[in-house]
Amino acid sequence: MLSLYDGALNVPKILKDWYEEEASGNYGAYVPFVGTVRSEDGIDGLSFDIYEPILSSWFEAWRKKAKAKGAIVKMAHSRGDVLLRESSYIACVFSPKRRVALELIDEFVEDFKASAPIWKYDLKDGQRVYALERSTAIKGSGLLGAKE
């Protein structure tokens, strides 16, 4: 399940809803990861753009990968502005055994950071500034650049 929301995530509700959705599924492990905006470099918050078509296909590939291991992945992310100490990202894995869940959440979050088509901006002094130095070029980038 991939869920996108305008603004900050309602963390307690999302975690509770996911827990209840899978309560009858005989999963031994539920491992959530919650990403929260912290105070750093004088920012007032973060803001996000999302390109949904490619995010959806990226997530679908992960859903199938998890299913092959008997696991379920879920993810929620914010669009637009999220202020300090609010949360913009939740991912989780349900699996029969803990080892699969712990390994999968690590792989999933790392690949999310490197590949998911989401762009982050710092909110600072009323401006929305692209966080280029904290961003990662998607694998295969530079295809259209001049060959040196």
Binding site: I54, K120, A137, I138, S141, G142
Partner: protein, 73 residues
């Protein structure tokens, strides 16, 4: 015509171009100085699938997207 979209922080309006492959698109965009850095660090998708070759043929109605460096979470 092929529609070219610039995602996220690339502040550029979509273009409609008569091109047959990504090599032709590369040549056009390399003429635009403001695109130089973006071309070096952006990935390319055709009809929402990431591609790795300039030779992939393009046809009327196709959509090309440029995806600059990402940072979700």
């Amino acid at each position: 015509m092929v529609r070219v979209e610039f995602l996220g922080p690339i502040r550029k309006n979509p273009m409609e171009l008569d091109i047959a492959n990504l090599s032709e698109l590369a040549a056009i965009l390399q003429e635009d100085e403001e695109m130089n850095e973006w071309l070096k660090n952006s990935a390319v998708a055709v009809n929402d699938t990431l591609v790795s070759s300039l030779e992939a043929p393009l046809k009327d109605g196709d959509k090309v997207s440029l995806l600059p460096p990402v940072c979700g979470g």
